[in-house]
Subunit: 342 residues, 4 copies
């Protein structure tokens, strides 16, 4: 059994991680910390976990995380970078679900996240935890930078096109739509039900923090700097990301075959039959990314549709997938949930 | 492995049954029928089941259900009563998720359901599948009448009060609220998104089909005819039932202890701490019924709050719970899903 | 033209008041204050008001409200009682949409609202602004205590039964459901979209602040203390209140006629045909209260269904209705909006 | 007073037209037809219209539409083309909210709509009712082809770029999102609440009927054939369209000024301040189209955000705007509703 600790389990990625780990056959959840809720039973904050988890939130200053085999950070940005060093040195493996170790260019990270990086030397050590790209490196990683929700859906969608070098890499467009849980469990006016329900809007069109992460990932694959227009939108649903991706084809090849082949052995990437339109609910509560490919009217624009559950494949599920890989377990263990539909 | 057949798997209880059975370690799904979708792959109709279920819908006239150990009917009312006899005679166990065998008084059933009963002689054989009441009989049942969604939430809520004989049994009130999936996957105007979203209404106040079912169940426990006012409402959510129950206390006893004791050994009934307000999402996708008890301002009105997922404990999950009992499996096997929150 | 000021226009009752007043032919909106947003254009906070309202929020300390003919308070509880005295003395009419002047028993108010009343002597002067009960007094009122959202729907629903003295007044039950805008435009976790969407729950079952207000109103009509069990619920919709009311009949009279007659001349109370089920969306954005009456199975329980838009008839619309009465205008002027459906 | 008839008033554009016309000071609604609901009171089908409209639906075969000054067709595609000829010849003005007269190329229309055109000779007579483009022609029109919902939002969004000839007209992209009312009030499974709620998906990516309409409109302005990729999505909200438009700039000019100038005198097009993100709810129930313009990271991709209420500016409101123009009334008369927020 893997002895697991969680730092900061009161947000949506935290509760989702708890949901998954509570059912994982090889995990023993040892400790979960929260500054604010220390002493409270986890299932008092999240009644969905009653009869499933009996732990209480621990005071971070008293929690002995060093005895864990693995610690997940489900914290706001800026926390993991403060605490990773000592765990890393103690040989505890780390999976950071926040953005602290995702961007290799520290100056770039500091620009987008508006703070100094507290632990730049570990950034180089961190492995970007997108298994479909980095599986081999993840196997031996000590520190995983778990990808963001948008970056997962967008990168998996563009990946085959970039690898095959068949699109204009200067003019990629990602029009993305997220459920409101992507904004986190923070008391804010703009995500109140009466503000976000029965409403649709874009946000951060001038620049969103996931832009440099996606560009880094796709540029690594392209082996040159790619150009991306990234427009996120807030959708009145709880979970789910739908990425609608546009690229100008420079060669004519069979896109359906390209995608089917690329992902044939990926347990969590599902290429739909030609002509399909994936729905976010078809992955709700599951670790799947479902993708469909189109070339409307047979023109030179490829339209790729990619859906994930932002809290699973876009956060907690992918983190557990990384854990499975790091600890030599079957990659799908404990994350084989069938999506909840309707 | 239990060889299982499903008749009519294209509705919401059908797809939920498939979600649960696809993950059940002791079930081998052999056949699923649908007159309308015969020949179509199950995962084409329900993409959430891709990579999970590879069966196709079979033509009912060609499906060999007699080779199954157990057949679930997830059909509209009026179908199971046509087909149950031959399966019953062939020694195939039956769990009927429709209403065909729930009401012992056949004339009463015919009045509420507006048709002649095709198989009245099997009504007497049928065991009402509410394990918290009938566990012993379910164990040896050949034919289970699986309870309706409202009746499950309402009966589990009232049960301890009735058993303890501490309320006026002539003046029970059940004000119930259901998610829209309770209306089924039928093309109808009144459950279209633009009709049902951002809207709340009652329906069937003069009389709803679940009224005789609830009255029968509670009267059996009370050993006399109870009086119930039952008002259902349609709520703009997908899943979930919230029953708000009112009863006039005739004796003063500690309700919290009464409920905690009654359900102490029930794996799926969760009595919340005093002062709680259960949320439907705290049971979403799970087989739990969560209950809280109140006596506002210390008066003589008991207010019982009972929530379930109408498709799980109110339908498919309870059906599998019954299956587990019938086949000598651990009662919770394959239905231990942690609720999906948020 | 009536010179109107608004104190505190940044909440949901505030923006609704602005929507209505912007279209009212006899109102000149002079000033709107907000401590927090002083200096900001109203239509920057609420883009729905672009091209409709050009005012900026004023600093409360600098706003000259004394030049107004009428001031609306759309503030949290506890603000109006601080400022009403000086306006009252200056001859400015006041309509308070908060709870400060609703409860005649100041000690009772202080118990439920958890603060000392700053202006108890004006409580006696305040007229409770439910036109269907107090129209004559409203005409000459200087200070209106505008009713709460639940109290409006519940009182209008019970009113004819109480006036006719045909129910057991000790055992009234009000099972009420509110849209989330009823919780206000405050940054709080429990009303975030991912918490409140696809979810249903009760709250404040042990006691809600609207309970004493409703009991006061109904007891005044009954001329004796009534007994009420009041259970509010939070519903995943933006606007709307649905009150399901239960009363035990002590006399057999034709309820449909009773209600139709009682409200025959009320412009905003609509008694639906026998057998109806009012929907909250049928009043969305309008000042209507629609009511249906039932006696399920011809028993002795009357079930009254009453729906309003909590922000209109339950707040801003009723406030403008009171304004119209106070200023001798046609009662329906400027609040004749047709409900928005779908 | 304009004597108005409506053919087919039982869908969402019909009820919205009724909502608007019921409050229009210069309209006398004479007749409304429905084959299916003939004889039923309009307010029985739509209780939101109680106390507002007392008409009954008339049998189409008995309705005397020739006495009207104006007839609106709020019918499914294929109906208006059957009945327009005789009304046209009788001198009755016609506004068709369906697609029958929108496409000048009849063969193209027949391809996309899958039927033969019953009245091709009137297609040439029809004026495309987008006032911001065709105001002068609308003034004297006898037959208006009222634009579709997507085409209105997309054309108003692209218009200034096309007119200014500053973008690559072969590579336009329109990623559009619609509320579910856009699918109409038809009993279908895929728009049921449990299917469409908490879910997001694209549809008709290979080709949607509004594509030729948008291409025709933009090509007319460009005076050459434009190239457009058009991807519609279904969003879990009732009303609203959000168009996210992408174009490659070929010249560097100040987009904000371009848009502000182009729409300075348009009463219903609102160009938001630089940096804005329009919300669909900011136009809910109103005839506004709100637009924001962006150039992310100062690159060569223009991102235009355009929102409308699909039932108002995208259907019934625009139809009444056209009526006002045709009958010499102030263009905004009766369609000045303030959006309903929240």
């Amino acid at each position: 059994m893997i002895k697991v600790g969680i730092v900061g389990g009161t947000g949506y990625t935290g509760v989702e991680l708890l949901r998954i780990l509570a059912q994982h056959p090889k995990v023993k959840l040892k400790v979960i910390t929260s500054r604010q809720e220390a002493g409270m039973a986890v299932d008092e904050l999240f009644p969905s976990l009653r009869k499933k988890i009996t732990l209480k939130f621990s005071d971070p200053s008293k929690a002995d995380l060093n005895k864990c085999d693995l610690v997940f950070f489900a914290t706001p940005n800026g926390v993991a970078m403060q605490q990773a060093r000592s765990l890393f040195d103690a040989g505890v493996k780390i999976i950071d679900l926040s953005a602290d170790f995702r961007i290799k260019d520290v100056a770039e990270w500091e620009k987008w996240y508006g703070m100094s990086h507290a632990c730049p030397e570990l950034v180089a050590e961190a492995i970007y935890g997108l298994p479909e790209v980095n599986r081999a490196s993840i196997k031996n990683a000590k520190l995983i930078a778990n990808p963001g929700c948008y970056p997962t859906a967008v990168q998996l969608g563009f990946l085959p096109l970039i690898e095959a070098k068949i699109v204009d890499m200067n003019q990629l467009i990602a029009d993305t739509k997220s459920g409101v849980s992507g904004a986190g469990r923070k008391a804010e006016v703009h995500t109140l039900f009466p503000e976000a329900a029965d409403n649709f809007k874009s946000y951060a069109v001038p620049g969103h923090r996931h832009l440099p992460e996606i560009k880094q990932g796709l540029s690594n694959i392209a082996r040159k700097q790619i150009g991306l227009t990234f427009v996120p939108h807030l959708t009145p649903m709880i979970r789910g990301i739908h990425a609608t991706l546009y690229a100008t084809l420079t060669k004519q090849i069979d896109l359906q075959t390209l995608y089917a082949d690329r992902y044939a052995n990926e347990p969590f990437v599902d290429v739909l039959p030609a002509g399909s339109h994936p729905e976010t609910r078809s992955v709700r509560g599951s670790n799947f990314c479902r993708i469909a490919v189109h070339r409307p009217q047979g023109g030179n624009i490829a339209v790729i549709l990619s859906v994930t559950d932002n809290l699973v494949k876009g956060a907690a599920g992918q983190a557990v997938q990384n854990m499975n890989i790091m600890f030599g377990l079957p990659e799908t263990l404990g994350i084989e949930h069938v999506p909840l539909l309707p």
